[in-house]
C-alpha cells in the first residue's frame, strides 16, 4: 500500500517474465511472491544466511538483497531451473543420494552455489567447495554430506556418467 510500482522484464529459468512489482521489491520477493517460484527461501532477509541464493548470469547471488530491477537483462536461474530435460541436475541427484538435504530449507541456495562452483571449476578440492559454500548456512547436516554430494556430482559431470537413478 502506498508503494510505487514498476514493471520489470526478467529472464527466469529461460522464461521471459514481465511483472508489476513495488519499487522496493528484491529479486527474492519478486520470485517468491509475484512469480510463484517459492523454491528460493528467505531465512534472514538481509544477506546473512544464503538460503535465497540464485544464479545471476551464472554467479551465485543473494536474491534477498538484490533489487529486482538489477536483475533485468540478466539470466536468472533458481533451484526450479536446475533440472535438465533428461532429469535432475547431478548435484540435485547426489544431494538426494547422499542425504545432503535434511530439513531442506538451505538446500535450494546451496544447490545454486554448488552449481555455480562446478560451472567455473569442474574439479574443485574439498577446500574449494568449503570456500564456495561459505555463504550458505546449513543448520542440520554439519556440511559433511553436502561436500560428499558436491564431490560426487563433480565426478559424475567430469566422467559423463549418466545418473544415479539406478541407485537407491
Amino acid at each position: 500500500m502506498g508503494a510505487t510500482n514498476r514493471i520489470v522484464d526478467l529472464n527466469v529459468n529461460g522464461d521471459r517474465r514481465i511483472a508489476g512489482v513495488p519499487t522496493h521489491y528484491t529479486l527474492l520477493e519478486t520470485l517468491r511472491y509475484v512469480l510463484g517460484l517459492t523454491g528460493s527461501k528467505q531465512g534472514c532477509d538481509k544477506g546473512d544466511c544464503g538460503a535465497c541464493t540464485v544464479l545471476v548470469d551464472g554467479v551465485a547471488t543473494l536474491s534477498c538483497i538484490m533489487p529486482v530491477w538489477e536483475a533485468e537483462g540478466a539470466e536468472v536461474v533458481t533451484v526450479e531451473g536446475l533440472a535438465r530435460e533428461s532429469g535432475p541436475h547431478p548435484v540435485q541427484d547426489e544431494f538426494d543420494l547422499n542425504g545432503a538435504a535434511q530439513c531442506g530449507f538451505c538446500t535450494p541456495g546451496i544447490l545454486c552455489s554448488a552449481v555455480g562452483l562446478l560451472e567455473r571449476n569442474p574439479a574443485p578440492s574439498r577446500e574449494e567447495i568449503k570456500e564456495a559454500l561459505s555463504g550458505n548456512l546449513c543448520r542440520c547436516t554439519g556440511y559433511t554430506k553436502i561436500y560428499n554430494a558436491v564431490e560426487a556430482a563433480a565426478e559424475r559431470i567430469r566422467t559423463g556418467s549418466a545418473d544415479g537413478a539406478g541407485r537407491r
Partner: protein, 858 residues
C-alpha cells in the same frame, strides 16, 4: 531396486507376533532396513518443490505483524490501536484481552498469554497484532499502535532474581503460585540417591569444580511461520471492526474452564485450520482449542515441511494464536512470518546453567559419589522448564555406575526470552561439567581418561542409581570405536604443544515414558491402507522436521509389506488425516512411530499371507513378502507379484486398512516423586574424541576433527543416522566455540536487549568453521526398539563440548570451565596459566615428567 528381492528364505515364523516387544527386532534377513536409501522427500527438497509454510498463499490472505515490548519488564497501562485501525488496508487488530486464557506446553505451568494482557516480561514479548492487506501495511500499522508502559525493575541474572522479595521495589516476574513462594522460581528439584555424604568422605580423591554453560539458541534457517483460516460454516465470521473481544459465540461457562470440554461443546460451528512450522502439531492443536475456546474436533493443524527446528518449534507460539484470532476476527486467511529478529526473541533455547560439581572416586578410579548444584536461568516463561529442571539432574546417571548421587536444581525466571528445549534438552549442560570433572579426576589419578570411563561403564540390563531401566547399551563399543579411530593410544598427551585430543561420553533418552500431559492413550500411531494396485498409503501422525521421519515409516512399511519403496506414499502432519503422535521431541519418533508402523504393517501382512496361503494351499508363515513379490519360502521360484497378492487379500478380506500404535512401558520408572522423568523405553550412548589446535597468542581454538561413535541400536538407514550424528556434533561444536544468546546490561545502554539478533552477529558455523566429522555407527540392537533401533538425533550432541574442553587441556594445559571457548576467554585463561607457569602439555600418566619438557612453551 532388485525385482526379486534378496534373502527372505530363512525368515522365521516369529514375525507373526503382534505387540510383543521382543519380536520386533528378531529379523535377521531385512531387505531394506539397514540399507543406504534415499529419503522419500529427498528430491522434493533438492528441487524446490517442497512447500514450507511461507510458500503457501491462500486467496484473500492478509499479512499480520506483532507489536513487541521495548522493555524487559513493565506493566501495560494502555493500548491504543485506533490510529492503526484507521490506516487504509488494515483489517483487524487483536490484543491480549482478546485471548485471556493462559497456556503452556506443560499443563502444570501455564504462565503465558498469546499476547501479554497486563505485563510484559522481556524485550520482544508480544502485546498486539495487526492484520492488513499486505506485509508493508501491517508493518506500518504495527508502528501506529500506541502502548503505554510503566517500567518495572528487571532481572537479567538468575541469582539476582532469586533475591527478589515481591515488594514494590523488587517485584516478582510472575505471581507466586502459592502464598509465601518466590514468584521468580519456576521449579526446584532436590533428589538424593545413595549415601552421598558418606561415600564422598570415604573417597580417595574428590574433584570439585564450578562451571558455566552460556545459553544458545536453535537458529533454524526457516523462521517460524503460521497461517490461520477460519471457515464460519454459514455463520458470521466476526466483525471487521475491532476493539472488543472475538465475536465467535460460546456456551455459557466455557470461558472459565480451559481444557474442559466435557460439559458440552462450544456452539460455534466454524472450523479453524492453522498451518504452522511446528514440530508438535498435536500440542498446538490442544492449546489452540483450549485458549480460543473451540471444540477440538473443529480445529485442524497442518504441519508443512519444517525448515529446521531442533526443539525451537516444540510448543505453541504467539504467532499461531494470533493468525487464528485474526482470521476469526476478519474472516480472511492470515499469515505471520517471523523476522529473523523475532526468531531470536521466540527462543526456547538452551538454558544458561550455573553448576557446581563434586565428584568422589576410589584411588583406582571407581566413581563413588556425585554431588551437584545447578541454577537454571529460565528467561521469562516456564516453557518446558519444569522438565528441564528435572533433566538437569536425572539424565546424568548413565553410562557410568554411580553408587551415590544428589542434585539440587533451581530454575529462576529472568526478564529475557524464555529458555526451553534445545537438542539434548537439559542434559547437555551437566554433561559438559561432568565429563570435564571426569577428565580432571583421571588426571589427578594419573589414569587414561578413556580407561577411567571404560572401568566405570555400567553395561546393559541394569538400573541406574536413580532407577532408570537401561537395557541395550553399546557405550563401551562407542568408546573403543573413537579410541581406535582417533589413534588415541598413540597420540593422546603425545601431540606437540598446542595440539590436543579430548574424550567424552554420554547417554540420552529415546523418548519419554510419560507424555507431557497425563493420559493413557498411545504416544504414537499410524494408519496404513493398501489397495489392489500395490500402493501402500501410510498416514503418519509424526512430524517430519528434516530428521527423516516420513522416510523411516516408508522403509518400515516397504520392509514389512514387501513392496518397492516407491510404492509407499506417506501422508503426515495433518491432524484431520492422521492419528495422533505427540511430536518430534525428546528423540521419541523412530522408536515409537517405528514400532507403531510395524504394528499396523504386520496386521496387513498377515492378511496378505493368509490370502496367498489360501491360494497356494500352504501355511501363511511360508509366504514371504519381499522386493515386490509374495514368495513361497520353501521354494522361492514360486512367486506372485505383490500387486496380485494384495488383490487376493482384498478379495478375501475386503478393503484393506489397519491402524498400529505404540505406547511406552509405564511400570519401569523410579519409585519416588519425579522418578517418571527421565524414564525412557531405551537409552542411546555416545562417545566422541575431538582434536584441537590452540593458538596461544590469539586464544583461537580450531577444532580439526571430531570422531563420533553412537549406539543407535540399529541404523534403519545409515545415511540418515550419520546425518544426525554429524549434525549433532556440529551443533555441539558450535556451542563450544562460537554461540551465545546474550543480552545487554543497563551499563551497555539498553538492559535486556538481545545482543545480536541476526545470523551475522549471532555466529553460527559456516562451512569454513566446521571441523571434519567422522561418524562411527555402533549397533546394540535394542530389545524393544523397531528392528532394534534407538534414537540418533540428540545423543550425539552431548560429548562434543566436553571432548573439546578436554582436548584444549591436552593441547596447552588449561581448563575451560565456562562456555563458549571464544578467543578472548581462552586467551585470558592462557595468560593466567602462563603467569602461573602452567602453560604446558599436561603430563601423561606413568610417564616421566622430563619427557614433556621439550613439548612445552619456552
Amino acid at each position: 531396486m532388485s525385482e526379486t528381492g534378496g534373502g527372505g528364505e530363512s525368515r522365521p515364523g516369529g514375525t507373526d507376533e503382534q505387540r510383543v516387544p521382543d519380536g520386533r527386532n528378531s529379523q535377521s534377513d531385512l531387505n531394506l532396513i539397514g540399507s543406504r536409501l534415499r529419503k522419500v522427500d529427498g528430491f522434493a527438497k533438492a528441487s524446490g518443490k517442497a512447500r514450507y509454510a511461507d510458500d503457501i498463499a491462500l486467496p484473500g490472505m492478509l499479512h499480520a505483524r506483532i507489536v513487541r515490548s521495548p522493555h524487559p519488564h513493565a506493566r501495560i497501562v494502555s493500548i491504543d490501536s485506533s490510529r492503526a485501525e484507521a490506516l487504509d488496508g488494515v483489517r483487524g487488530v487483536v490484543t491480549g484481552r482478546d485471548m485471556p486464557h493462559t497456556y503452556g506446553v506443560i499443563p502444570w505451568t501455564p504462565d503465558e498469554h498469546p499476547l501479554c494482557v497486563d505485563r510484559v516480561r522481556y524485550i520482544g514479548d508480544g502485546v498486539a497484532a495487526v492484520a492488513a492487506v499486505d506485509e508493508d501495511t501491517a508493518i506500518e500499522a504495527a508502528g501506529l499502535i500506541e502502548v503505554e508502559y510503566e517500567e518495572l525493575p528487571a532481572y537479567l541474572d538468575p541469582r539476582k532474581a532469586l533475591e527478589a522479595t515481591g515488594g514494590e521495589d523488587s517485584p516478582y516476574i510472575h505471581e507466586p503460585r502459592k502464598a509465601g513462594w518466590n514468584g521468580n522460581i519456576t521449579k526446584k528439584v532436590h533428589l538424593d540417591f545413595g549415601e552421598v555424604h558418606a561415600l564422598m568422605e570415604a573417597s580417595d580423591v574428590v574433584v570439585e569444580g564450578a562451571y558455566f554453560f552460556e545459553g544458545t539458541t536453535h537458529a533454524p534457517i526457516e523462521p517460524h511461520c503460521a497461517i490461520g483460516l477460519w471457515e464460519p460454516d454459514g455463520r458470521e465470521a466476526g466483525g471487521l471492526s475491532s476493539g472488543g473481544g472475538l465475536t465467535f459465540p460460546l456456551e455459557p461457562g466455557m470461558g472459565g474452564q480451559p481444557g474442559k470440554h466435557e460439559g458440552g461443546v462450544p456452539s460455534s460451528h466454524g472450523r479453524l485450520t492453522v498451518w504452522s512450522s511446528t514440530q508438535v502439531p498435536h500440542y498446538l492443536h490442544r492449546e489452540l482449542a483450549r485458549v480460543l475456546e473451540l471444540d477440538p474436533a473443529r480445529v485442524r493443524v497442518i504441519q508443512p515441511p519444517v525448515g529446521g527446528a531442533f526443539g525451537g518449534k516444540s510448543e505453541p507460539f504467539d504467532l499461531e494464536f494470533c493468525v487464528a484470532a485474526l482470521a476469526m476476527k476478519t474472516g480472511r486467511p492470515v499469515k505471520i512470518l517471523y523476522t529473523r529478529e523475532e526468531v531470536f526473541y521466540a527462543h526456547r533455547g538452551r538454558h544458561p546453567f550455573h553448576m557446581r560439581y563434586r565428584t568422589g572416586a576410589t584411588k583406582d578410579g571407581k566413581l563413588q559419589s556425585v554431588d551437584a548444584q545447578v541454577l537454571l536461568d529460565g528467561g521469562a516463561y516456564a516453557s518446558f522448564g519444569l522438565v528441564t529442571t528435572y533433566y538437569s539432574g536425572q539424565l546424568l546417571t548413565a553410562p557410568y555406575t554411580m553408587p551415590a548421587y544428589r542434585f539440587d536444581s533451581v530454575r529462576a525466571y529472568t526478564n529475557k526470552p524464555a529458555c526451553g528445549p534445545k537438542r539434548g534438552h537439559g542434559s547437555v549442560q551437566p554433561r559438559f561439567a561432568f565429563e570435564v570433572q571426569l577428565d580432571k579426576l583421571a588426571e589427578k589419578l594419573e589414569m587414561d581418561p578413556v580407561g577411567l570411563r571404560r572401568s566405570n561403564a555400567m553395561g546393559g540390563n541394569t538400573r541406574t542409581v536413580n532407577e532408570l531401566r537401561v537395557t541395550s547399551n553399546g557405550f563401551v563399543e562407542c568408546l573403543e570405536a573413537v579410541e581406535r579411530a582417533s589413534g588415541w593410544k598413540e597420540r593422546w598427551r603425545r601431540l606437540p604443544f598446542g595440539r590436543g585430543l579430548g574424550v567424552a561420553g554420554s547417554c540420552y533418552i529415546s523418548g519419554t515414558n510419560y507424555p507431557v500431559y497425563p493420559n493413557d492413550m498411545p504416544q504414537s500411531a499410524v494408519q496404513i491402507q493398501i489397495d489392489r494396485s500395490g500402493r501402500v498409503a501410510v498416514f503418519s501422525g509424526a512430524s517430519e522436521i528434516g530428521q527423516g521421519t516420513d522416510s523411516m515409516v516408508a522403509y518400515v512399511a516397504a520392509e514389512e509389506l514387501g513392496v518397492p519403496l516407491d510404492y509407499v506414499r506417506v501422508f503426515a502432519g495433518d491432524t484431520d488425516f492422521t492419528p495422533v503422535d505427540l511430536g518430534a521431541y525428546s528423540s521419541r519418533v523412530t522408536f515409537m512411530l517405528g514400532n507403531a508402523c510395524i504394528d499396523a504393517a504386520r496386521t496387513l501382512k498377515r492378511k496378505v499371507q493368509d490370502a496367498v496361503a489360501g491360494e497356494w494351499g500352504c501355511k501363511p508363515r511360508e509366504v514371504l513378502l519381499a522386493g515386490g513379490w509374495a514368495l513361497f519360502a520353501p521354494d522361492t521360484a514360486r512367486k506372485l507379484p505383490i500387486r496380485e497378492a494384495f488383490q487376493l487379500a482384498e478379495a478375501m478380506f475386503g478393503t484393506l486398512g489397519a491402524t498400529g500404535w505404540y505406547n511406552t512401558p509405564k511400570d519401569i520408572h523410579g519409585s519416588y516423586r519425579g522418578g517418571t522423568i527421565g524414564s525412557s523405553p531405551a537409552y542411546s550412548f555416545t562417545a566422541h574424541v575431538a582434536e584441537v589446535d590452540v593458538d596461544v597468542e590469539t586464544g583461537f581454538v580450531e577444532v580439526k576433527r571430531i570422531w563420533i561413535a553412537h549406539d543407535c541400536g540399529r541404523a534403519l538407514n545409515p545415511v540418515l543416522v550419520e546425518g544426525q550424528m554429524e549434525g549433532s556434533a556440529y551443533m555441539g561444536f558450535a556451542e563450544a566455540l562460537m554461540e551465545e544468546q546474550i543480552f545487554k546490561s543497563a551499563e551497555q545502554g539498553r538492559e535486556g536487549l538481545h545482543n545480536a539478533p541476526s545470523l551475522l552477529d549471532y555466529r553460527i558455523p559456516t562451512s569454513l568453521d566446521t571441523p571434519e566429522l567422522e561418524s562411527l555407527i555402533v549397533e546394540s540392537l535394542d530389545p524393544e526398539g523397531p528392528y532394534g533401533a534407538k534414537e540418533a538425533g540428540e545423543g550425539p550432541l552431548h560429548p562434543s563440548i566436553p571432548a573439546i574442553a578436554n582436548a584444549i587441556h591436552d593441547a596447552v594445559g588449561i581448563r575451560m570451565d565456562a562456555l563458549p571457548f571464544s578467543p578472548p576467554r581462552v586467551w585470558r585463561r592462557i595468560n593466567e596459566a602462563r603467569a602461573e607457569g602452567k602453560l604446558k602439555k599436561p603430563t601423561a600418566p606413568g610417564r616421566p615428567i622430563e619427557e614433556e619438557v621439550h613439548e612445552s612453551v619456552s
